[in-house]
């Protein structure tokens, strides 16, 4: 099996736009001001910034925030990987974007234009930017990346699925490098859906700290990672991606044990994106798989709140706070019985 390595990271998250690992302390939820709320409503929100201040030349004025963040995160990841985009074969670079809701901000704007003007009076500039694949397409367009360009959604495991699909493209020689992105934005319609469905934690409505058992605090952001065949010089890989699997049902313990093949990981981190209230259930699953005494990093609320596309932020946080080099297992479980598991060697 080819050795694939993660060589660059870029992110636009509640930590702000960053290249590489995250050194900052975990943020607290902040009060929502982007729309009128009936009292205090909190979430993990991406702080406002001008994309062109971070990535010179990038134009994002008419884009959904998800596309803008994808452009920034991908650019930061390439910068972090030390890649001179002009020196590589861009027809061999794939882009894979994982998302739960896609460009929901401009989708809401399109519905708004239909509500105001009728279906015959909708905005032609907005429509193409509502498409789910717009963020990945803008990344390809900005960096002139002509390899496979895919947008993937998977109930509970969009980010893990994108990572595994990217690995598959590289292993089958359909690309030499992939930028894997995962993320979502928080809008009024998304937040109020969670609230109406009674999925939110009490910490969304008060300044209290987050309790880990009841509901979740929505989050947003995009994380991008450069995945490539090992051997490019100079590169400074964060981790090597090993085998992985994901399933929409079945026996989690049996499936993960088969993946581990009798070689327990040095530590396990929980991606916990399967269900908004799953901080604990994924930890329980991890404990059942790797044993009580094993090192387990629980799912982090700021990443869990991103939902189906949260696993890359979980991975970024795990890499940032890792206890040391070694073999790692990234494990996510879903309230509906599915799981995703990936083996990594952390450098």
């Amino acid at each position: 099996m080819k050795t694939l390595v993660l060589t660059g990271i870029g992110s636009v998250t509640p930590f702000g736009p960053l290249a590489g690992l995250i050194a900052a302390e975990y943020p607290q939820p902040s009060a929502i001001t982007a729309w009128a709320t009936p009292g205090l409503r909190r979430a993990f929100q991406v702080p406002q910034f001008r994309p062109a201040d971070v990535v010179p030349g990038v134009k994002t004025r008419r884009l959904d925030r998800l596309s803008a963040w994808a452009l920034v995160a991908a650019s930061l990841a390439l910068r972090d990987a030390g890649i001179d985009i002009g020196q590589i074969d861009r027809s061999r670079v794939a882009v894979l974007f994982a998302t739960g809701f896609g460009c929901v901000e401009l989708t809401e704007a399109f519905f708004q234009s239909a509500a105001n003007n009728g279906w015959a009076g909708t905005d032609p500039i907005t429509f193409p930017e509502t498409l789910g694949n717009a963020p990945a397409a803008h990344v390809a367009l900005f960096h002139q990346l002509r390899g496979p360009n895919l947008t993937i959604a998977s109930k509970s495991f969009a980010a893990e699925s994108a990572l595994l699909q990217a690995a598959s493209l590289l292993r089958h020689g359909q690309a030499d490098m992939a930028i894997v992105l995962a993320g979502d934005t928080l809008t009024q319609a998304v937040y109020e859906w969670y609230e109406t469905a009674h999925l939110l934690a009490p910490a969304c409505f008060s300044p209290d700290p987050i309790a880990s058992t009841d509901g979740f605090v929505p989050s947003e952001g995009v994380v991008a990672m450069v995945l490539e065949n090992s051997g490019r010089e100079p590169s400074r890989p964060y981790a090597a991606l090993g085998a992985g699997r994901w399933a929409s049902g079945g026996d989690v313990q049996a499936g993960v044990n088969e993946l581990l093949g009798g070689c327990p990981p040095d530590f396990t981190f929980c991606s916990g994106n399967g269900a908004p209230c799953a901080y604990n259930s994924v930890t329980c699953s991890a404990r059942a798989v790797v044993g009580k005494g094993a090192a387990i990093v629980p799912a982090q609320p700021v990443a869990t709140g991103v939902g189906e596309a949260g696993a890359l932020l979980h991975l970024l946080l795990a890499l940032s706070k890792r206890p040391g080099p070694g073999q790692a297992l990234m494990l996510g479980t879903s309230a509906h019985g599915g799981y995703a598991a990936l083996r990594l060697e952390i450098f």
Binding site: S91, A114, A115, W119, P148, N149, K155, S168, E192, W193
Partner: protein
């Protein structure tokens, strides 16, 4: 398979072989809308349970049709799914949501909005068929359906599951009709792909699911083999957010990659089922792509667009057209483009029009492209004993 011809591959085959056009005025379905659409057959109501979007239901119906007697088997339970969609649950949401989401949710919108995510299309099929393998959805605009098949094929090579159900599903809905109308991309009359006088596309709906497995696996279990997927490729133009590269360079590169994987020469390909939307920009770019990709061919490459039969089914199009391409292969049928009377001038393309042409077709190709510059090509070949 769920198409405007009905449910099942044989309904699609009968409709295509008869050259029957299913396009009807949009105003019949959506009063106030101009244009022409094609609707799939009316869907039977579901028993009470989770809310499934029309796209989900089309997908579930197509998947059930594809698996046939395998439904409920342990083999199917271990299998995986890649379904494509662009519309997904958008069909269930109306503009009232913009005036106040919470209010709209409280008045019945909560369950409807739960079907919004594209991932729900694959998850619905998994629930319906009790599939427990990996399940994901692909949303790459109009190339989605073909890319779902390509990804599923990769997953089979990865041994991610013993079989993969791959396809696409999209329902007609005001959001997409309005969007394409705002871009002035719709032809008010039945579309005329590759015609000098083409004016735009028509929207259709449907779903297709193909059951993929390795040749060894299929032969071991004695499965009927409809065709062999010999090659696939995906690429991006990286040229414009909505328009294709004017020279079709990305698509030509994609076709070349698929042929290399299939180990096929350009002369072996007997028919290309084109993307052929009927929009001025797409069809000329696509023509250039064929001229470049098949430049070394001894005879012009036979090409048609079957979107002239029941419109552009968006995320389902690539999968439905893969099925039509397989029907072409099995029947030796070079389906003509309907209403093509004054084709784009090209010495290297043999535009199929008029009567259905019949000849042996050992290798055929289906080509898809979409907004965002994405391209996909699938090469199918007959099963040789």
């Amino acid at each position: 398979m769920v198409s405007p011809y009905g449910v099942g591959l044989s309904a699609l085959e009968d409709g295509m072989m008869a050259g029957r056009c299913c396009l009807t005025p949009a105003a019949d379905l959506y009063p106030g809308f101009r244009g022409t659409v094609a609707q799939a057959a009316a869907l039977q109501p579901l028993a009470a349970g989770p809310h499934y979007s029309r796209t989900d239901r089309l997908a579930m119906l197509a998947a059930r049709d594809a698996v046939g007697d395998l439904a409920g088997s342990s083999l199917l339970r271990k299998s995986g799914i890649v379904m494509a969609s662009t519309v997904a649950g958008l069909s269930e949401i109306d503009p009232e949501i913009a005036k106040g989401p919470a209010e709209w949710y409280r008045h019945g919108g909560l369950a409807r909005a739960a079907s919004y995510s594209v991932s729900r299309v694959a998850a619905s099929v998994a629930e319906h068929l009790e599939i427990q393998g990996p399940a994901c959805a692909v949303s790459v605009a109009c190339a989605s359906g073909a890319m779902a098949i390509a990804l599923a094929a990769n997953m089979l090579l990865d041994d991610a599951a013993p079989m993969m159900l791959a396809g696409g599903s999209d329902a007609l809905c005001p959001f997409t009709l309005s969007g394409f109308n705002s871009l002035q991309a719709l032809d008010a009359e039945p579309c005329r792909p590759f015609d000098q006088n083409r004016k735009g596309l028509n929207i259709g709906e449907g779903a297709a699911a193909l059951l993929l497995e390795t040749l060894d696996h299929a032969m071991r279990r004695g499965a009927p083999i409809l065709a062999v997927l010999r090659g696939w490729a995906m690429s991006n133009d990286a040229s414009h957010p909505t328009a294709p590269h004017k020279d079709g360079a990305g698509l030509a590169a994609c076709i070349g990659s698929a042929l290399r994987m299939a180990a096929c020469s350009v002369d072996e390909v007997g028919y290309v089922n084109a993307h052929g939307t009927g929009t001025p920009l797409n069809d000329i770019a696509e023509t250039h792509a064929y001229e470049n990709a098949f430049a070394q061919r001894q005879r012009p490459i036979p090409v048609s667009s079957t979107k002239s039969y029941f419109g552009h089914c968006l995320g389902a199009a690539g999968a439905l057209e893969a099925a039509i391409t397989i029907l072409a292969l099995r029947n030796g049928a070079l389906f003509p483009t309907l209403r093509l009377s004054d084709p784009i001038a090209s010495e290297r393309v043999d535009w199929l029009h008029g009567e259905l042409r019949r000849e042996p077709l050992p290798v055929v190709m289906s080509v898809s492209a979409g907004f965002g510059g994405s391209n996909a090509a699938l090469v199918f070949a007959e099963m040789r004993p």
